[in-house]
């Protein structure tokens, strides 16, 4: 038996649930993860990622030395031909030197050299082209402190709001809808309250695979507390086994289905009139728009039986405590904002919000996507969702950051997708990426690749050279969760501690230290007075942010040491706020928005008869930077396309057959899983696998308000292919799990 040198309590780096982990460390090596059974969020339960998926920390491909391209070191001009950027091939083997210009080699260097190259080039471009040429991707995996500092660096030093992160690609639709309707942008209640629901709707979320611990709580609510679950999803997900009803809608038809439910609630007079009268506005205008959304109309569009829509509407409306949990099936559409609004209307009509056991609950994806958004890693907001175009907000942050009056930029910044599509002469010239991987997570990757090559200077701050880091000019080796201190804010707004289990490997440094070091070098070159970068520990960073952002004002590391605190925490003795909107909404009254049905941008036709919907797998995480470099990859090593047996038969496809999936934008070859988990006419692909990247196929159409791309629906064709066409013909997943 091994005796650990120490056991470090920290927060899981994967999904937004925020499970407590205990890392058992021996000789600076984590060999086991456990979770205390009194942990506040997960009660000792973990999923495969949290319990076993930490070994990417020690993967041999991890980079722990600063790297710069040879051309920089030798003072040469940047070489042409940036297509050949993969110094490491997809199998992890180095590409032969003969195929790559030597100037493009990575050269190991020291921190001073690497950071000076970054500072020199960023300042050079800023002085030449101004604020609009600068942009940064913050990171929903990194801590609150890291994100706060990075947006501060770009806003305070480069005076730009071109700051965004992957929230744009997951819940931007929900965030914008919630901002418009209630004036907030987080879960209204905690996930643990699901056991207090008597009816709840799960839609657009494969909770069992993406928020596994919340799924356990949902199953417990059904099995042990008598709750009724309604699943609205185009896939027959695992939760359907325990659901009272499953409404299998066609991808992208949320608005008609949920509006028809609202229609039923109004027509059958199941409305909570008191709530509508006291707490909402714009009801009459909304009613007009609702008139045409009869259940029969919704059935025609969505394929869900009108009678089922009626039944679900009655069930939800008549519940004592009803709640809605939703995921990216709602927001990742060219009408993602409207989809989320359709859900919000249901809560307004029934009054199922503002009490324990009810609520509007977007399940946030990343461990710290809530926190990164709270920290102002967004183009329209300072920390605390303060609009950047409001001079009063600007004045507050100018004071906090020691900036001359009127110095910060009032102009709204560009969003994630816009930053890359503006990468050209006269647009974005320099991009700083902390921990993100747009070359996997953006839609229509062939287009993204072109944009990446049009950047003049790219910095990657990460733990691996991922598909995006391969385009970088300088690589700054950061530390993963196990080697740094800070805080994460989980999906239900609980701010929890992250603690280092051991010292950084090699020369890697925590992100916040890299940013502070770099910011000082930039300030020297700009010759400006300092915006404060001398922090002795991450808590000072959080306190600086909390001094201006009232939601976090009462949070100290001491107070969150054991179980965290659920913000808003306005004062040092405030106990936290598990349930929001009990008295009123942040914008005052909840606002109904008239809706119209807009089809997905690319509907299936004779040439591309299937709807492709993308999503995630239990065993993997997003672009795969972490999980594909861990033992999780052994558990699920290949991408597979799910196709319904009826469709498979028509196309002569058997289980495990190689197939080519093609859209108007790209094609990939994967094995088929013939399964009733998907519905007729719909195929499903996970997007974690670089060798068969689903996002080569997806449509880059954007929601006009939230700018979120339409990942959840595009038209594809499926053809039988040969074994030899597969990227890894020898690999076959043999998994019995659903």
């Amino acid at each position: 038996m091994i005796k650990p040198d120490r056991i470090t309590t920290t927060t899981c780096p994967y999904c937004g649930v925020g499970c407590t982990l205990q890392l058992h460390v021996k000789d600076d090596f984590i060999y086991k993860v456990t979770s205390p059974f009194d942990s506040p969020v997960n009660h000792g339960n973990l999923c495969v990622k949290g319990r076993f998926g930490y070994d990417f920390v020690y993967h041999p491909k991890r980079v722990t030395t600063p790297l710069v391209r040879r051309y920089l070191l030798e003072g040469k001009p940047k070489p042409e031909g940036r297509e050949q950027v993969y110094a490491i091939s997809v199998d992890g083997k180095p590409i032969p030197d003969s195929q790559i210009s030597n100037d493009w080699d990575w050269v190991e260097t020291d921190w001073g050299t690497a950071l000076n190259f970054v500072a020199d080039n960023l300042v050079r471009i800023y002085k030449r082209d101004g604020s609009d040429a600068m942009a940064v991707y913050c990171c929903a995996k990194a801590t609150n402190e890291d994100n706060y500092l990075l947006q501060k660096m770009y806003r305070a030093l480069f005076r730009t709001n071109n700051v965004d992160h992957c929230t744009r690609l997951c819940h931007a639709g929900s965030v914008v809808a919630l901002q418009q309707a209630v004036g907030s942008s987080a879960m209204s209640n905690t996930a643990g309250q699901v056991i207090m629901n008597d009816v709840f709707i799960v839609t657009g979320s494969n909770t069992s695979e993406n928020h596994p611990i919340i799924a356990l709580q949902m199953k417990e609510a059904v099995q042990k507390h008598g709750a009724k679950m309604i699943v609205v999803d185009p896939r027959r997900i695992d939760l359907v086994d325990m659901a009272e009803m499953w409404l299998p809608l066609k991808p992208g038809t949320n608005v008609p289905v949920f509006s028809a439910m609202a229609h039923v609630i109004v027509k059958e007079n199941l409305v909570n009139w008191e709530f509508v009268k006291d707490r909402t506005e714009n009801f009459d205008e909304f009613m007009e728009s609702l008139e045409k959304f009869t259940p029969e109309y919704a059935e025609e569009i969505s394929g869900v039986a009108a009678e089922d829509i009626r039944k679900a509407a009655r069930m939800y409306a008549k519940a004592k405590n009803g709640a809605i949990y939703w995921g990216m099936g709602i927001s990742q559409l060219s009408h993602g904002t409207a989809s989320a609004l359709a859900l919000i209307h249901l809560a307004f009509l029934t009054g199922h919000v503002g009490r324990d056991g009810t609520g509007l609950n977007p399940l946030r994806g990343q461990n710290n996507v809530q926190g990164a958004s709270d920290m102002g890693s967004m183009p329209f907001h300072y920390p605390g969702y303060m609009r950047v175009d409001n001079p009063e907000n600007r004045a507050k942050w100018e004071k906090a950051w020691n900036i001359e009056e009127g110095g910060l930029n009032l102009k709204l910044g560009l969003t994630t997708t816009e930053i890359l599509s503006n990468a050209h002469e006269g647009g974005i010239r320099a991009l700083y990426i902390m921990g993100e991987n747009p070359m996997m997570s953006e839609p229509n990757l062939n287009e993204t690749r072109k944009h990446m090559t049009h950047l003049e200077f790219l910095v990657a701050q990460d733990i691996f050279i991922n598909e995006s880091g391969a385009f970088a000019d300088v690589f700054l080796p950061a530390t993963p969760f196990a080697e740094k201190d800070g805080t994460f804010s989980n999906t239900d707004r609980r701010v929890q501690r992250v603690r280092a289990a051991h010292k950084p490997r090699g020369q890697a440094r925590p992100d916040w230290q890299i940013i502070c070091d770099l910011a000082l070098r930039i300030e020297t070159r700009l010759g400006v007075s300092t915006a404060h970068w001398a922090y002795s520990n991450p808590e000072e960073i959080l306190r600086e942010m909390g001094s201006v952002n009232p939601d976090y004002a009462g949070i100290t590391y001491e107070r969150i040491d054991k179980v965290g605190l659920i913000y808003p925490v306005p004062t040092l003795d405030h106990p936290g706020t598990p349930t929001l909107f009990t008295e009123s909404f942040p914008r005052g009254r909840g606002k109904f928005h008239p809706l119209d049905y807009v089809p997905v941008r690319e509907e299936p036709d004779d040439e591309y008869p299937f709807i492709l919907t993308t999503g995630r797998l239990l065993e993997h995480w997003h672009g795969g930077t972490m999980t594909r470099n861990s033992s999780l990859n052994e558990a699920y090593p290949e991408a597979r396309v799910e196709i319904h047996p009826a469709d498979a038969e028509i196309h002569g496809i058997r289980n495990n057959d190689p197939v080519k999936v093609q859209s108007r934008r790209g094609e990939i070859v994967v094995r088929a899983t013939v399964t009733e988990k998907t519905t007729v006419g719909v195929v499903f692909l996970p997007w974690h696998f670089h060798e068969a990247a689903a996002n080569l196929l997806t449509n880059d159409a954007l929601d006009p308000q939230a700018k979120i791309p339409e990942f959840k629906a595009c038209a594809v064709q499926v053809f039988p292919a040969r074994e030899s066409d597969l990227p890894n013909p020898d690999v076959v997943v043999e998994r019995g799990r659903y």
């Binding site: 600076d28 979770s35 059974f37 339960n45 999923c47 596994p212 356990l216 239990l618």
Partner: protein, 230 residues
């Protein structure tokens, strides 16, 4: 509603429906447990927590027996101590307790002897190493049932493992003895988290014990398993 009764001669009060074990712990009376776990449903499988209740023919497992008015409970009578000692001796005669520190401590406390049943057939089986996350060494399994429970209704609702075999041959297994990846298992490892004896163990802990270095372990997951389709 509360009930009042005697425990080890002392008058104690309990909530209606509270188990004897729970009441004992509240009153600072120590009763040993093996299969009992705060996160799983108590099933009285191991019987180490038995107590003597006046008027009842057999010893009663305190983890499931509810307190009742006027009960007279002895938590450490001679009969109780003898039963506990015998249970420990039978366990130690038939299985590998080398990583069950709590049970070893109990054996010392109760004076249980390893060699009490020299002719016992030991329950031995090969280590099952069939998935990338954890190993199963059923030579160390005392059938406490916790792993089955957390896989089922106590946590995960996945139902990948259960008892197989009958009587002395009983073991924890998958349906049709399939390898873990081919079952409904989602590799969550809740079972590993509640195993009291080291029968279930994270793969990397197992490798480290086998003398592999962290560097050697870290390259192990970079190789791809090669399998033929179908």
């Amino acid at each position: 509603m509360t009930v009042t009764f005697l425990m080890d001669g002392k008058e104690v009060t309990a909530q209606d429906g509270q188990t004897l074990l729970d009441v004992a712990r509240e009153n600072g009376i120590e009763i040993p447990t093996i299969c009992f776990h705060e996160a799983t449903t108590a099933n009285a499988v191991c019987r180490i927590c038995v107590v003597e209740v006046e008027g009842m023919r057999t010893l009663q497992p305190s983890c499931i027996v509810k307190a009742a008015t006027n009960m007279k409970v002895q938590t450490r009578s001679e009969k109780v101590v003898r039963a506990r000692k015998t249970i420990l001796e039978m366990l130690s005669a038939t299985m590998d307790l080398s990583e069950a520190a709590d049970i070893q401590a109990m054996m010392k406390e109760y004076g249980a002897r390893d060699e009490r049943f020299p002719d016992a057939v030991r329950r031995e089986s090969d280590i099952k190493d069939d998935n990338p996350m954890y190993i199963r060494d059923y030579s160390k399994c005392l059938l406490c049932w916790r792993c089955v429970q957390v896989c089922a209704d106590d946590a995960q609702f996945t139902y990948a493992i259960n008892f197989e075999g009958r009587g002395y041959e009983t073991q924890i297994g998958t349906f049709f003895d399939k390898a873990i990846p081919q079952t409904t298992c989602v590799l969550c490892g809740q079972c590993v988290g509640v195993c009291p004896t080291g029968a279930l163990k994270p793969k990397r802990e197992f490798l480290l014990e086998k003398g592999k270095t962290p560097a050697e372990i870290s390259v192990m997951n970079t190789g791809r398993k090669q399998r033929k389709p179908r």
